[in-house]
Structures are given as structure tokens and as C-alpha cells.
Amino acid sequence: MTDNKIRVLVAKPGLDGHDRGAKVVARALRDAGMEVIYTGLRQTPEMIAEAALQEDVDVVGLSILSGAHMALTPRVMELLKANGQTHVKVFIGGIIPDEDLQSLKEMGVAGVFGPGASTEDIIRDVQTAVAG
């Protein structure tokens, strides 16, 4: 039993209650053979970082539709770093305006997926990020 699975935390920070996208992505990653820990709605950055720590994940996927990504993302990144999880790749999905992409990248976000992103691309990018 020595198979190393990619472990992904899929979380919805903030107050919007639409988790359809997060669930579709969780399912696609599962079908790609990954172990996806789904935490449900309305998570604080603290709850997300704690779950990422306890579950020793390789990847954190944040689904944000509320427009609060510029506030929530840096907080999650900070907490992951404070916990010593600097190797964890962070992806964002949701409604993210183009003008924010650059600053998110500078924060260290590994990828951003907007409406219409294909699950194949998401799977590929996650696998590449973890391998690299």
C-alpha cells in the first residue's frame, strides 16, 4: 500500500452560498484519482488553513463568487505560510476580474479558473503544480 495520492482541500471561504462549482470541481478531481476533502460553505480563512494542516493536503482550491477574493486569498496564504505549509499550491475558482489576476499571481496563487474553465484544464494544472 505505497501509493501517494494527491490530496486537495476544496473550500468555500466567505459568505456566498453557491457551491455548485466547488462540487463539480471536487468531483472532477475525484474522477482524476485525487483525494478531495470538501469542507462546505462559509469557511473562514482560519478554518481553511486549519483543515489544510490537519489533512496535510498538497493543494487548496478556493471557490469565491462574492468578490471578496482580494481580501480572503492573502489571508489564507498568510495562514498557510504561518503553519509551515509553504509547499501547498493554492488555486482559485469563481468570478475573478482580469485586473486582479496579476496581483493574485504575485501573492503566489498557482492558478485562477473563471466561468467556462474546463475540468480537464483544472486537473492538468493541479497535477502539474503538484509534480513541479
Partner: protein
Amino acid sequence: MIYSQAVLNGDRLALARLLTQVENNTPAGRTALIELFPHTGRAHLIGVTGAPGTGKSSLVNQLALYYRKVENKRVAIVAVDPSSPFTGGAVLGDRVRMRDLSGDPNVFIRSMATRGSLGGLAQATANMAQVFDAAGFEIIIIETVGAGQSEVDVARLAHTTLVVEAPGLGDDIQAIKAGILEIADILVINKADRPGVENTEKALKSMLDLAHPTERVFQHHGSAMRTVAPAQDSSATLMWIPPIQKTVSIESKGIVELAESIGRHVNHLRQGGDWAVRERTRIEVELEALIREALLNRFREEVPQEKYDDVIEKVIQRNISPWEAVKRLLKGR
């Protein structure tokens, strides 16, 4: 040494990393298990199993809250969910029901996929429980979907096993069919505010009566029929009869009573000597599994792959039977 010392010092990241190593059965994980073993044997392992949809995760959430708030014990949770047999992936969603526990450094929740390994799940779970035990968690709750042999094996690791039922999931025949009832130390009827709870309770009670014979009188075709219980020796008087606890976990109802019931079971185990018996059984089973693994590995090292393939081919061609094949391989011919 990198992991074990850090885990003993209370480093949560090291604990999380070590759990991964142990789950993946890596050399580093095995080394740490050896180093941590002297620090184990203190925790109370509680297994929680039952059909999907009975509310196990919510119940575990409530129990963990009780142990934190009332008994001030450190609580670890291993939540096991199935892997897809086709892709090997899994969605592990038990944390959704355990958000009340977030932010408490004395609670550690770890989700785990079954990974479809033959018997490996029980071993991996046992090893992860040992890591938590060594890390000083006093209560370790192992939650599994009660749907197969591997889950039963996992439940058998526990000192106290709860089997969770809910009203409306099936008639009393289901209760008879379900082999998992026999592993229950405590039966929990969760969602007990739902209609049909009396029927569920009645079905479980009658199952328990069948499983634990005492002298009883039945009305059978109008005449009284007496069954005679086996002679009671001193150990039988100490026999534990699984109680039925009713809970509504989303309203925190019945949780205190359930925890008290668990406490009574622990006292029963300790006073009646069953704790030592279970510990011994557990260690026996574990040793046996390790021996099997070691022997198999040694065997695979000794027999060249070509030889192995050759024998398999002969079996496929029906030249020899599988039993003869095993004999040949063991003789190294």
C-alpha cells in the same frame, strides 16, 4: 527521529505529515511507528459505524464537543470514506458536519479514503490511531461507513464500538441481516425525532434479545413457551448487554446520555478484564497481519518474477491448478 520527536513535542504539522507517511506505509512512517510505540496504549478508541445517512459525522461532532467541553479531553477523529473502485479518487466530506470543532487546537480531524486495499485499511487506521495515541490524544474516534468487512475490521480496533441506526432506513429484516449489529457495544438510534423511531427501537431490541439469551417466556400459538438460558457462570453475570441510546445529534439531544453509556462501557471493560482481552486480541490480529505482509514480501523477493509469471501462465492454460501452483512456488521450483 525527525517525525516522532516533533509529534511527541506537540508539533501539529509534523503530526499531519506523519499521518500521511503512515497512511502511505513509507519507510519513514514505519520508523516513526516503532519509535512512538512505547508511548501508545493510553487512548480510548471509539469506533462509530453505520449505514450512510444515519448521521454518523454529526454524532461524532457532538461527541467530540462533549469530550472537549465536559471532560476536557483531547480528541482525535479519523473519518473514513470510500474511494472510487474505478479511479481510486475520493471525496471526503465528513468535515462538513464537524465545523463546530474548528479552531480548537485540542481537536484533530483527519479524513481518510479506503483506497480499496485488501485488509490494508484496518492496518493503516490502526497505525494512524497509534500516532494520535502517542501524540497524547485521549479520545480517538474512528468513523467508518458500515458496509463491509473492512469496516467491521476497523470497528474491531476500537475499545467501544457504536453502531448508528436511523428510523426509516429499513424494516426489522434489515436489522437481522446487518452483521454489523453484532459488533455493537452500544446501539445508537440517531435522528430519533423522526417518525418510525419506535419500530426501529423494537427491531433492535428484538435483535439484542436473540443475541443475548436469558430466560424468557414467549406467547406462541396461545401457549406459553419457555426458553432456558445457558447456565450462568460468574463471567456471564458480567456480560455487557448493548444499550440502545436515542439521539438527535443536530439538536445535541441524548449526547450526554450516550457519553455516559460509553463511560459505563469503559468501566465494564476495565473491571471485567475485557480491556486486557481486547488489547490482546488487537495485538494478535495486528501481529498476524504484519507477519503475513512480511512473509509475502519475503516470498516475492525470493521468487523471480519470470518464475511467477510462468506459473500463472500454466494455471491459465489449465496445465496445473492454483493449489499446485502455490506448492511449486513455495518449493521454489
